[in-house]
């Protein structure tokens, strides 16, 4: 705002309502005032200019700093904010890479631990078995310290890897975890997209599987906590079994899959052995050389079927019962009861009984028994 302009406007209004003499006097006075004003204005040009200059510089300075604090402006080169953003990303990437490597070491070490643990437990089982000779037991016992040492090395490496710092000063653990997960997922997707075109598909699959295992461990706080708190010095059979159980139930890879399937397998030779024991209880000659001629029970077929779940597993055994005293239904009933009372089977079913007298003066009857397993 110019102070002279307002002054001039007021002078015009003052001149309109006065006589020529008054005007002359007034004009003289006004001239003086103008002179004084001019002088008074001239007295302060420097501070006013400075202020304007300050404002001007201030605006430029503000604009400059604003560009430095914004990631979107690059008029004056790379802004500080942009540099911070780039560095933060770089930090997250580096931390994610460190976490990935540590988790990868942990996964491999846990797999080694599981394999060694299986070996160790198998050795212990044989040492405690009544069917293993003393010599073999001594050989097995001699190997135990070496396997135990390998177990310690594996779990120590895994423990160090999961205990390694997962974040640095400027990054929270949560941010680092998210970044690691994103990095692993990106790598996995990139590998999956190149799988079809790849010449070595198995190799690509292995890499994807490895990334899956790392991702699985990254999100498995429970297993990580167990590894961290694992007492390596007092390594015992119980502590090995407990950790092994955790690895098998919480990790998803080929080793754990093999174990989990193996654990749920139905051992059919045990089933056939039990059928033999039950049958011999009724017909002591069953399975012997004499059974062909004078045995009472002869099986024609076994049909063992695994269902969708344990309740649906079933066994159908059928055959013939031969007697000279026509007690075929008695023997069939004894067989059914023995199956029902066995420790392995339950629910032996047979609802149709038959027998006939043959040309060799013997009574022959067929049986068809359906069995289910005890829960």
């Amino acid at each position: 705002m110019d102070p002279n302009s307002s002054k001039n406007t007021e002078d015009i209004f003052a001149n309109q309502n006065s006589t020529p003499e008054q005007n002359n006097v007034q004009n003289d006075g006004q001239e003086k005032v103008k002179e004084e004003n001019k002088k008074s204005i001239k007295k302060h040009p420097f501070p006013s200019l400075i202020l304007k200059l300050i404002i001007l510089i201030g605006i430029f300075s503000f604009a400059y700093m604003q560009t430095q604090l914004s990631v979107n402006f690059s008029i004056f080169g790379v802004s500080v904010a942009k540099e911070i953003q780039t560095l933060e990303k770089e930090l997250l990437d580096n931390q994610a890479q460190i976490n990935k490597i540590n988790l990868s070491v942990a996964v491999d070490s846990l797999n080694f631990f599981a394999l060694k643990a299986e070996d160790y437990l198998s050795h212990l089982e044989q040492i405690n078995s009544n069917f293993v000779t003393k010599n073999t037991k001594e050989k097995l016992s001699a190997k135990l310290p070496e396997i135990k040492n390998e177990l310690k090395v594996s779990i120590t490496t895994a423990k160090e890897a999961v205990t390694a710092e997962k974040s640095s000063g400027n990054i929270s653990e949560e941010q680092a975890k998210k970044s690691t997960e994103e990095k692993l997922t990106e790598e996995k997707l990139a590998l999956a997209s190149e799988l079809n075109a790849s010449e070595n598909k198995d190799d690509v699959r292995k890499k994807i599987q490895n990334l899956n295992e790392i991702l699985n461990l990254l999100n498995n706080d429970d297993l990580i906590a167990k590894i961290k708190s694992f007492d390596i010095e007092s390594l015992s059979e119980e502590s090995i079994k407990s950790l092994l159980e955790n690895i098998y139930s919480q990790q998803n890879n080929k080793l754990t899959t093999i174990y989990n399937i193996d654990k749920e397998k139905l051992i059919w030779s045990n089933v056939m052995h039990e059928i033999e024991i039950v049958t011999k209880g009724i017909d002591p000659l069953y399975g012997s050389a004499l059974s062909q001629n004078i045995g009472q029970i002869k099986y024609n077929s076994f049909q063992l079927e695994k269902g969708e779940n344990e309740q649906e597993d079933k066994i159908i055994v059928n055959g013939t019962i031969t007697t000279s005293d026509s007690k075929n239904f008695n023997i069939a009933s004894d067989l059914i009861d023995s199956f029902t009372n066995s420790t392995l089977f339950s629910g032996a079913k047979m609802r149709s009984f038959n027998k006939k007298f043959d040309e060799e003066n013997q009574y022959i009857g067929n049986f068809n028994i359906e069995l289910t397993f005890q829960n």
Binding site: M1, P3, S6, N37, S40, H44, P47, S48, L51, K52, I54, I55, G58, S61, F62, M65, Q66, Q68, L69, V80, E83, I84, L87, L91, N94, Q95, I101, N102, S104, V105, D108, N111, L115, E118, S168, N170, L195, D202, R205, I208, Q209, N212, N252, N253, K254, T257, I261, K265, L266, W268, S269, M272, Y299, N300, S301, F302, Q303, L304, E305, K306
Partner: protein, 199 residues
């Protein structure tokens, strides 16, 4: 009056100047903070890069130290639980085992192998089964040996393919083997062979 007008103008200019200075001071403070953050981040990144180099060096050493063992187990796992159907490998495995049992005094013949389509398993992510029907004619001894072999599948020692027996059907009405007193029985064993592809 005129002096007052000059003062208002000056005041307005001053106010603007103060606002501008204030805004600058505020921004300057933020910029100083940002520079300090940048310095901290740069230092952290230098430390982290050093840490990354060390971790990578340790990782390379770990891999080198365990390379042989890692490769050995990886190959074993691939045989036991392959990433694809690997039907031809399973054909060879079963036929070779069956032939190894066969002798004139204790014969066994693998007569037929029939494969179904692979199915995804819900219980374990990435797990698939391929149903296979195996038909044999052999002695009772060899029948039990075949069962024992199939039951021990997924064994790290003999690297046999992981499978599960789902059905056994044996006809105990034997047939005479080449006019000898050896009896041969027909038996059919259904198994699910597994493959694992967690992609």
């Amino acid at each position: 009056m005129k002096k007052t007008q000059i003062t208002i103008g000056a005041i307005l200019t001053s106010v603007i100047a103060i606002i501008v200075i204030g805004a600058n001071l505020y921004n300057f403070q933020k910029l100083v903070q940002a520079k300090s953050t940048l310095k901290n981040l740069t230092n952290s990144n230098i430390e982290l890069e050093e840490n990354l180099n060390n971790t990578e060096a340790k990782y390379i050493k770990f891999k080198n130290d365990n390379q042989t063992e890692l490769l050995k187990y990886s190959e074993k796992f691939n045989k036991i639980l392959p990433s694809d159907e690997a039907i031809t490998d399973f054909n060879r495995e079963i036929e070779n085992f069956s032939n190894s049992l066969h002798s004139l005094s204790n014969p066994i013949f693998l007569e037929k192998m029939t494969y179904g389509s692979s199915k995804k398993q819900e219980k374990i992510n990435g797990l698939y089964i391929v149903p296979v029907s195996l038909s044999f004619q052999g002695t009772d001894k060899n029948f039990y040996k075949i069962i024992e072999y199939l039951e021990s599948s997924g064994n790290l020692e003999n690297e046999s393919r992981l499978l599960e027996i789902t059905k056994i059907a044996i006809n105990w009405e034997g047939k005479e083997f080449e006019k000898s007193d050896i009896e041969l029985y027909d038996f059919e064993i259904n198994v699910n062979i597994y493959l694992y592809s967690s992609i």
